[in-house]
Each structure stands twice: as C-alpha cells, then as structure tokens.
C-alpha cells in the first residue's frame, strides 16, 4: 500500500501547490452574511434597505428582468407596500386602439428595466453594458463577497497604471478597469429606518438584496433540506439496523 498512498498524496500535494506557481488571484474580503450556512435566512431589514438602494441608485442602469414586484414578499414587504411600489412605475402597453400607451405597474409585473434594449443601455453608458442583475450573485466567482468587494473597492489607480478613457480603477474587478463609476457614496440614500447610509452599509444591504433576488427560493430550500437530511439519516440508520439483523445468520 505504500506506493499507492504515496502516489495519491503526491498527486494531491502537487495540485494544491501548483496554483502557487501559476496564478495571482485577488483575495476577496470575506463577509459574514445572514444567509450563509444551512440555517441562513435573509436579514429582512437589510434586504429592504438594499432594495431601496437598488431602486434609488442601481435601477437607473441595471435591470432585474427575471424578478417580479410580487417577489418582494420574500424580503418582508406587505402586499400593500408592493402594490404601491409597483404602481409607482409605468409599464408600456397597448391601448384599445392598438396604439402604444402606458399603465401603472402591478405586483405581477417584472421589475421595470431602465432601458428598452441593449443599444439604448450602451448609448447611455459610454458603450458599456450594465449587466442584468437577476442572477448576478450566482454569475460571479465569489458571489455576495465579490459584489460587496466591488462596490467598496474603488480607489486611485496605482501610478504605473494606464487607465483607458472613461474607466475607473477597482481593486476587485478582473483587470481593475471597470466602466461603472463608483455607484454609491456616503449619504447617497436616506434610509427610512434611520440607519446611517455609509458606503459600507449600503454595499452590504444591496448585496443582501441582490443575493435574495438571485435565489428567492433559498429559505424554503434550506428549511426543506434540513428536514429531508434528518429524515434520510434516520431512515438510513434504521435500514442499517435491519441489514445487520438480516445478515446476522450469515456472519
């Protein structure tokens, strides 16, 4: 067995050591999220503040095409609140004469996108496309930690770095040159619950909201998971006892 275990150990050691030669990865500062772990839930207050940041800041450029206003029950908003939020936007529609018209939004509507199409979005953003944020938390390495780091990672570029026109330096964006200017600044929104709107606070809040909108099923999923795993563990335990009984005359 000696050669065997040596080979497997050697292979694993090589593979853990090899990246050290090969890459210079940016380390993301890790946050403690309310939705981490097997029992994690979305911190309602934080997610609601985060929605406020999204609505007042990010939604000027970023859509959430896959989400509906009704999804907001998941962060603890009431039906009435959601109706009011939806009604505050206008949705393009056709009137009875078949002419383009507008109507107030309903909870069953998708979040209103800021631009009618990709070209309009690029035209308004120096040619860059603000990505849809429906699943952005699942679409980036590092997930919530990455979004938080990105939002708080703006800085002066190092002296030896040539910045392209209209680009901004960010410590955590791959390549460090991002077309999005720093979107949040201290005091940019006035939180209705009185929380002080620092960059750090807003980054945490909007990241919580974006994580929710990417995984609206998460709380239900984890609660189901806990029950199912406990059930399966008991079932497997009982099955094992029965197995020992059945086999007792053989061994």
């Amino acid at each position: 067995m000696r050669l065997a275990s040596l080979a497997v150990l050697g292979a694993l050691a090589l593979c853990t050591a090899a990246p050290a030669f090969a890459e210079d990865e940016i380390k993301l500062p890790e946050q403690i999220w309310s939705f981490d772990g097997a029992f994690g839930t979305y911190n309602r207050a934080s997610a609601q503040r985060g929605f406020q940041v999204y609505k007042e800041v990010c939604s000027a450029c970023h859509s959430i095409k896959e989400g509906y206003y009704r999804n907001l029950t998941g962060i603890g908003l009431s039906e009435e609140q959601i109706k009011a939020i939806a009604a505050s936007v206008t949705i393009p529609t056709l009137n009875d004469d078949g002419q383009p018209a507008e109507r107030p939004g309903l909870p069953s509507d998708h979040f209103r996108s800021p631009f009618p199409n990709e070209r309009a979005a690029r035209a308004a953003n120096n040619g860059a496309l603000p990505p849809d944020q429906s699943v952005i938390e699942k679409a980036r390495e590092g997930g919530a930690d990455y979004i938080h780091a990105l939002l708080t990672g703006y800085a002066e570029p190092p002296a030896d770095m040539k910045m392209a026109a209209g680009m901004n330096y960010n410590k955590y964006f791959p390549g460090h040159q991002i077309a999005m200017a720093q979107p949040i600044h201290d005091g940019q929104v006035t939180y209705s619950d009185g929380t002080t709107a620092t960059v750090e606070q807003m980054a945490l809040d909007v990241t919580t909201f974006l994580s929710f909108i990417a995984n609206p099923e998460m709380e239900q999923r984890k609660q189901m998971g806990v029950k199912i795993v406990i059930f399966l563990a008991l079932l497997t335990g009982v099955t094992y006892v029965v197995k020992r009984r059945v086999w007792s005359d053989v061994h």
Partner: protein, 423 residues
Amino acid sequence: MPGLHKSEFTNPVVNWIDTRLPVFTMLTKEYAVFPTPRNFNYFWNFGALAMINLMIMIATGIFLAMNYTPNTLMAFDSVERIMRDVNYGWLLRYVHANGASMFFVVVYIHMFRSLYYGSYKAPRELLWMLGVVILLLMMATAFMGYVLPWGQMSYWGATVITNLFSAIPLVGDSIVTFLWGGFSVDNATLNRFFSLHYLLPFVITGVVFLHIVALHITGSNNPLGIDPKGPQDTLPFHPYYTIKDSVGIGVYLIVFAVLVFFAPNFLGHVDNYVPANPLVTPADVVPEWYFLPFYAILRSVPSKLGGVTLMFGAIAVLFVLPWLDTSPIRSARFRPIYRQLIFVLVAAIIVLGMVGGHPPQGIWVVLGRIATAYYFLHFLVILPLLGKLERPLPLPESISSPVIRKGGGPLPYGAAAAPMEKN
C-alpha cells in the same frame, strides 16, 4: 397447453398472467432468488445506485422538458422561469443538474470497482464493454444537457467541443457544419441537442438492460475474484442484497440532498448564469468537472488532431482493456504490484482533472503531459507486461473458506497460469 409457462404462483391473477407472460417468474429468478456471491463489499452497491440515478434523471428531466423552451432567445429565461415560477421548479432543476454530477460520481466509482477487482476479465468482457458504451452515451447526454440552459459555458462549451471534429482530415469542416445545422452554434444546434438529450437517456436505459442481462448470464464477480463453487458460496439476492443496497441508497441520497439543498451551484460554473453571447469569449472555457480529465488529455497535445485522437483513445483503451490485461488473476488483492499501480493510475486521473480546470500554461502543461503519458502507459504497456511478470499471491480455495490452508489450495498461480475457468 403447448408453449404456456408452468407458473408456480398461487395467487390466481398473478398465476394467470405469469402463465402467459412469465414476468413474475423472471423477476423472482433474476432478483429474488438470484444466487449472488456472499462476500460483496459496499463497492457492489454502485450498480444499483446508478440505476436509481438514471431513473431520477429521467423523472426530473421529463418535468423540466414540460417547462423548458429550446430557442436561443428564450432558453435562458425559460430555465429562470423554471427556477422562479414553476412550483418546486428549483427543486426539479437542482436535482437534475446535481443528479448529472452524482451520476458520474457513482459510475466512476462503479468503474473503479471493476478495475480493482478485475470484473472486466473473462467471462465478463462484454458486460464491461456495454458499460463503456453506457459511459459514452452518458457523456453525450450530459454534454448536450449542459448546452440547454444556454449560458456562456453552454454556448462556448458546445462551440469548442463540436469544433473538435474539424480536426478530422478532409471532411472535418463539413462534419462540424452538419453537427451545427448551420455555420455556427445557433438555434438549429440547440434544437437538435434538446431532441437528442431527450432521446439518449432512453437509449441508455436499453443498454443498461443489456448490461444486466449479460450480468445475469455470467453472474457477479466478487472481492476475491474467484468463482463461487456451490450454494455455500452464494446468497439469494433478496433479502440479503436488497437490504444492503438499501443502506447504500440511503447514504447516497444524503449526499445528494446535501448538494441539492445546501450547495446547489457548488459544482456548476458561474459563467453559465450569464446568458450566451457569441461576441464575448469567457476567459477560459471549462467543461463540467466530470469531463476535466479528458479535457486535460485533449489540451496536453499541441496538435489538434493528436489531442482529439488521444482523448477518444482514452476511452478506446477501456474497450480493449480485457485483452490488454494479461493477468489471469482478477482481484487486486492477490496482485501485489497491480494493487499499488491502480492507485497511481487514480492519482494520474486526479491530476488530469485538476489540470483540465486550469488554463494550459506553465506548470499545468507539464503536469498534464506527464499524467497523460502515465494514463496510456498504464493501459498499453504496464498491464500487458505486468500480467507476465507479477507473482500473484496464493488464491483462497473458495469464497466460503477464504482462509488459506498452509500448503493447500490451488497454488501457486504462477506467471503462465491459465485463465481461470468457470465451474
């Protein structure tokens, strides 16, 4: 009456059916009383697990297909609709996506079992080869399934893999155009992949049936690799192995559930949550983890044709493995050198898996080449020679008396020993 089956069932309805269509007799014969070696370890669970996994994939897949739209403009959104709007759609999708990973885990362990205990040797060569066919079909199915959500990795994975066929001299480019149904991966490609992704699992089911028929002709191998000599060496499949398989299924379901409910995207790639965009190439196109060793072999050869040949060669050697391994001894327990080398092979495959996940630069290229060379060395050089050179340990007399009596037993099994005969 001529031709009617003489059924032994007492229940009149069962008897009536069984007389005309002896499925009950068959089930009893093949699953209840089927004589099975008494010394299986838990490695023998994995065939049953693969069967369960296939059923889970088909069940969840059929419901996904009811809600999925195979159109380049709608596929990504339709998968998100499954996640958000279909009742328990997220559960269906996460079970199906992680089920593919579980399937490969199970099948790779199942194959390791065959390698370690020599289950591919006479008389089970055809059984083993049918298994390799199943592996190929699974790979095709999983590859095409991964294209369906139409994310960045779907699109670019499909582009890279189909483009491999362009390495074939003369007709390569025409073949690629034919596969695509156009001049790039596009709507026609997505549609045919969906159709085939729905079809192939049922082809797999058919081959699995043949695999099991072949198994029931030869009987199962066992950890000692020697044939049962009589009833004292076997047990009826039911209840002994039905209950032992149930324990395995329980553990398997726990692992599966932990993945689905607590880390559903752990094995996936983040880029596949970015909608496909033909104008933006991802930094590194990587396939799903279960393809990484093969992908590493592909990329470790500087020539495209060479890489493609080696990649398919890696599976082709498995087809002829029963004839490459010249040792008459099945179980690695009695092959002191093979028993070590099989783990070196596993280590090489793990290294290949790691290499496949990184851009082919620097140290990864070197590691990839060494591991690729070792992979083929193992099958093409070491196995044929080892069977002639290795001195096996004495085999036990029978399964029920595995203790070797001093001086007794069918010893010594020397280098030139004849292949084991079935008796």
